[in-house]
């Protein structure tokens, strides 16, 4: 049964932490959202609660990292990536502290709670800070396996996890790797490049396109930085058109990073699917995905538009 990635993360972390005293979980009154209650109860000496103080969360984590700990600082992505971003820039990234920043309930997970609770700028700012690996797992399996890899991964990391149940994407023998994209569906008409928990919608869009006779390739990125440039450039060369998909502002995230790569190496038509640069309507995550055409049907439509554009330029 599928579960929320944040829950899978915490369970994995607890298992790891039982055999590795270096691992510390930190929360900012975010134990519930991060599902860290069990961790706090079982390993109180490896748990740190800082209260509602996200700047301090990151500073403390950096200090502990510099003393040999492997801190996982878990806080809602909206607050972690904004309220404490200067600490992330300076105490973590610039100082090279091995902190794992876990952005819980990322994107529009919090739906109708409004913009204060949406993290739609996190990829933009994290990407622009040198030295941070930016990870967005798609499903439970990937979350568990990347969490394991995180323990001894060098340098600071930002990992964003969703709040709701994450539908399965990968088979049981899938071996994800940080920094390596995955070809999910072959095809040569165009490529959908998706990240995070929208990978499932992108894959479903790929199937919808098949039904419409379009061979859409689907590629998943679990890491925005460092980017798997190889898989994207291959897709650009072989399919000649890319649709990027992300739970983020259309500016500064996956789409803009891919746009940059294409412009610098292989200019082809591109469509960026994400949240528009305007205040969002009220709604839960699913409603917002539908409203802004980020569900499978919406993505398939965008892909068709892109294909028409590709064909028009070729003519």
């Amino acid at each position: 049964m599928e579960r929320p990635n944040r829950r899978v993360f915490t369970e994995t972390l607890l298992t790891l932490a039982k055999n590795d005293r270096r691992i510390i979980a930190l929360a900012s009154d975010s134990r519930g959202s991060a599902t860290l209650n069990e961790f706090a109860a079982e390993l109180p000496e490896q748990f740190v609660e800082v209260g509602i103080a996200e700047q301090n969360l990151v500073g403390i984590a950096a200090g502990m990292a510099k003393c040999g700990k492997i801190p996982f600082a878990c806080s809602p992505a909206c607050f972690l990536s904004m309220r404490s971003v200067e600490q992330i820039k300076t105490d973590v990234a610039y100082s090279g502290a091995n902190v794992r920043l876990i952005g819980i309930s990322g994107g529009v997970s919090y739906g109708a709670l409004g913009s204060t609770h949406h993290s739609l700028q996190d990829l933009a700012v994290m990407q622009a800070i040198p030295g941070i690996t930016v990870i967005l797992p798609a499903d439970n399996r990937e979350t568990a396996m990347l969490t394991r890899q995180l323990v001894d991964y060098p340098g600071p990391v930002y990992m964003r996890l969703g709040r709701e149940t994450a539908p399965r994407v990968y088979a049981d023998d899938f071996q994800p790797e940080i920094g390596k994209g995955t070809l999910l569906l072959p095809g040569d008409d165009l490529t959908i490049v998706a990240t995070g928990e929208l990978v499932r919608s992108a894959l479903d869009a790929g199937y919808l396109l098949r039904q419409a006779g379009i061979a859409g390739r689907v590629v998943a990125l679990n890491t925005l930085k460092p980017l798997d440039t190889e898989i994207i450039l291959t897709a650009a060369r072989e399919t000649g058109a890319l649709l990027t998909v992300e739970e983020h502002s259309i500016y500064g995230g996956v789409g803009s990073r891919v746009a940059q790569l294409l412009g610098e190496c292989c200019p082809v038509p591109l469509t960026i699917a994400g949240f528009p640069d305007e205040p969002l309507v009220t709604g839960n995550q699913e409603e917002l995905f539908r409203h802004y055409a980020l569900d499978a049907a919406g993505l398939a439509e965008k892909a068709k538009g892109l294909l028409r554009r590709k064909q028009a330029t070729r003519r």
Partner: protein, 303 residues
Amino acid sequence: MPWELARNAILRKKTAKGWCGLKEDKMALSELAQKALATRREVLRLIYRAGAGHIGGALSAVDLLVVLFYDVLNYRPEEPDWPLRDRFILSKGHSCEGYYAILADRGFFPREELASFMKYQGKLMGHPHPKVPGVEIATGSLGHGLSVATGMALAGKRDHLPYRVYCLLGDGELAEGSVWEAAMAAAHYGLDNLVCLIDCNGLQISGPTRQVMNTQPLAAKWEAFGWEVREIDGHDLQQIKQNLDQIPFTIGRPSLVIARTVKGKGISFMENDYHWHHKVPNSEEYARALKELEGVGPGEIGA
């Protein structure tokens, strides 16, 4: 400037009688109590219908909100931007349900709007936003409200206007450093037109505030930061009213009200239980809770 203080006192009196948007005269305590009860019922209903919301902190804040909006604040619901209005900022923005219920009851927007709470394309989100008439600023991220309130109070001072600014914070929220930045600045500028109220229910999401991150002792902290502090029972309408009638507590200083409250107040099985920070009652719990909040009278909201 003592002359200004005297002038403001006169202006504020006039305001309450003549300029103010309140149709009725000041309410009797019994009426306020009815309003509080009705507001609690509406909080419960909103959250039950939406299947979401933050019930514990909404209920602990009701009595403070009721005294503020039915007795203390000067405003004009039909002219929400009236420049002389008192400003209110719900820094603990997650407690928006009672706030919405009261704004609707006071006529800032039609009561029917309440049905859209957290609904697709609705106007009322899970945290306040200024597109809702009566809301001054978006809150929901904790620790922002007092800075904004300080800016508003400072603008009032600079323009020699008699309005006051009231800001409501949670006790867990006091762990945010930004609160202390604002506290320091408000005292530095001697903003005696600024009132900060702490909904001191002793709990936050993860448990008792003393255990999660102890923000106590509140009085000593705020006094050291230059505020005049009073501690009151946050569910005693008369005490709330009496103290808010004495603003500023000291000339030349911002006023702090530490309101001792009970999280989940009014619904026995929610009281003092941090799990009810944002748990949503099931149908059986809803019925039971509604029953506990029964009461009749003219003050009933949204009945």
